[in-house]
C-alpha cells in the first residue's frame, strides 16, 4: 500500500508540462470543444464586439487573461473554498481580476483601455469564464487549469476573430481599420484628405452590406460557422 502511494507521488511531478493530455487542454477548445460553437457560451459578447477585428482581438486577449488567471487562482484555492458559496467566491475573483486589469490598462495603456472599458462588464458576465471555473478549475491542479483557461480563451478568441473578419470586411470593406476594397467617396485618405471619387471595388459599384454591422448578422455568422463545423465533424452532431 505505502509503496504504491510513494510511486504515485514520484510519478506525479514527472508528467511533462506539455503532455498529450495537457496539449489537448489547449487544442480541444479550439475545435471539438469550442466554447462558442460547441458549448454555445459567451454568445452575447460575441455579437456585441465583432464589428471590428481590432476590438475582437483586444476582447479575446482580455478574456484569455481573465480565464487563465481566474482558473489558476480558483484552482489554488479549490480545497479551501466552502462549497455553498463557491459561485460567489468565483464571481468575486473574476470581478476583482477584471477591475484590476482595467485599472492597470487605464494607467499604462490608456488608448487600449478606452476601447476595452465598454466591454469590461461583458467580461465579468461572460459565461465561459464562470463555466471553466466551475467545470474545470475546481477539480484540477493549477497548471492544467491555467492551460484550460488559455485554451478556452483562445477558442473564444478564434471564433471572435473569424466572425469579425467577415463582419468588418463585408460591412465596412476594411480589415483592422485598413481599407481592403478601396475607398468610398468621402473616405479619409492616408494623406489626411477626403476621397472625391470611389476607387477599387467601390468604383465598380460595390456597396457595403450594412446588415453585417448589426448584431443579428453576427448571430447568423456564428450559426454558419457552427453549421460548417458540424458538417465537417459529424461526431459533434447530437442524435
Amino acid at each position: 500500500m505505502s509503496e504504491v502511494a510513494v510511486e504515485e507521488k514520484v510519478k506525479q511531478p514527472s508528467e511533462p508540462l506539455f503532455s498529450k493530455k495537457n496539449k489537448a487542454l489547449i487544442s480541444n477548445p479550439l475545435d471539438d470543444d469550442n466554447p462558442i460553437t460547441v458549448q454555445v457560451l459567451g454568445i452575447c459578447s460575441a455579437l456585441a464586439i465583432t464589428v471590428q477585428v481590432k476590438q475582437a482581438f483586444v476582447m479575446a486577449l482580455s478574456v484569455t487573461f481573465v480565464t487563465a488567471m481566474g482558473n489558476v487562482i480558483v484552482s489554488l484555492m479549490r480545497n479551501y473554498i466552502p462549497n455553498r458559496i463557491r459561485i460567489i467566491v468565483q464571481l468575486v475573483i473574476v470581478a476583482a481580476l477584471v477591475i484590476l486589469v482595467d485599472q492597470v490598462l487605464k494607467a499604462f495603456v490608456y488608448d487600449i483601455s478606452k476601447a476595452l472599458s465598454v466591454f469590461v462588464g461583458l467580461i465579468i458576465t461572460n459565461c465561459i469564464i464562470m463555466g471553466r471555473l466551475e467545470a474545470f478549475a475546481l477539480g484540477n491542479k493549477p497548471w492544467p487549469a491555467f492551460l484550460d483557461g488559455i485554451g478556452n480563451g483562445l477558442g473564444y478568441g478564434l471564433i471572435l476573430i473569424i466572425v469579425s473578419v467577415f463582419r468588418e470586411l463585408l460591412g465596412s470593406g476594411k480589415l483592422w481599420g485598413y481599407p481592403i476594397f478601396g475607398h468610398k467617396v468621402g473616405a479619409l485618405l492616408s494623406d489626411g484628405s477626403l476621397a472625391t471619387e470611389a476607387s477599387g471595388l467601390y468604383a465598380l459599384g460595390y456597396v457595403d452590406n450594412g446588415l453585417m454591422i448589426l448584431p443579428p448578422m453576427a448571430l447568423i455568422t456564428v450559426g454558419v460557422i457552427i453549421w460548417v463545423q458540424r458538417s465537417r465533424n459529424t461526431k459533434l452532431i447530437e442524435a
Partner: protein
Amino acid sequence: MAVDVNSNKYTFLFATVMVVIVATLLALASESLKPMQTANVNNEKRQNILKGVGIEVPANEAETAYDEYVKEALVIGADGKVKQTELNAFDIDVLKDYKSGLSNIYTKLDVQEFSNIDEIRSELAAFNGGKGVNFPLYVIDKDGEKLYVVPLVGTGLWGPIWGYLAIAADGKTVVGAVFDHKSETPGLGAEIAQPAFQIPFKGKTIFDEKGDFTGIKAVKGGAKGSPHGVDAISGGTITSNGVTEMIMRTLKLYEPYFLGLQASDASASGSMGVGENSGLGEEISPDSAAVAFMDSLDVEKVDTTVVVD
C-alpha cells in the same frame, strides 16, 4: 486540514477574509494608479483641445505642446461673456457639470428657434446655488493666428458624447472639430469619432451673411454644400442629432462672445480699407478642401443654379 470547509463558521470566516483581501487589493491598486490615470485623462483633454485646431501630438508631449500653444483659458459665464473668476478654466469638467444638472436646463432649450434663450440664460446664471455656470474657452495661438476652442458635451444614443470645436478669430468660421463618445454603436454612431465625419466641419460658418446665428447641423441625406451643415451618419441618426443639439446649444450660449469677436475683427479689417467686401466673401467660402469636396459632389445644386441664371 482538519478544518471542515463546509461548516458555517468556516464559510463565514472565508467570506469575510476574502472580501477584506479583495477590497484592500483593489483599493491599493486604485489609489496607487490614480495619479497616472489622472495624468492620462488630462493629457487626452490637452490632445483633444489641440486636435480641434489641427495640431496632433502624442500623449507624452501633450503637456508641453498645450503650454506652448494655449495662450489663455477663459471662463465664460451664463451671459456668454468673459467672467472674472479665480477658477482655472482647464479644471472645469463640462461633462460632470452636464451630468450634475445642466442637462435638465438644456432640455428646456428650443435648439431650433432659441425662442426661450433668455430664460435659459437666467436659469444657467442661477445654476450651482447662484454661482452660475462656467464655460471654458481656450484661446490658441497657432502660427500667429488666434483660434478659439469650445468644449462641447451632449447625449448620444447610449451615453454621453463630447467634442471640441475650434473657431477662427473672425468669430464664425470653424477651423476644426473633434468628437468622441462613450458607448455609441461601433460602425454607426461611433463614426462621429472618425475623421470622415469631422473633416467636413472645416470651413463651415456658424453665422450667415446677415450676421444671424445659424450653428452647424448634421443633416440627414447630405448637407449639399451648405455652409452651415455637414452629412449626418447613415444608421446613426440619434447620435447625429445629439451632435447637432450639442453644437447648436453650446455655440448659442457662447454667441455673445463670438459676436464681440466679429465686431473687433470687422473693425480690424475695416481699418485696412480696400477690398473689404472681397475679403468677407473669401471668408464665407474658405478654400478648404472639405468644402470644395462637398461642392464637387453637389450635382443637383449646379443644375438649379444654371436654371436660375
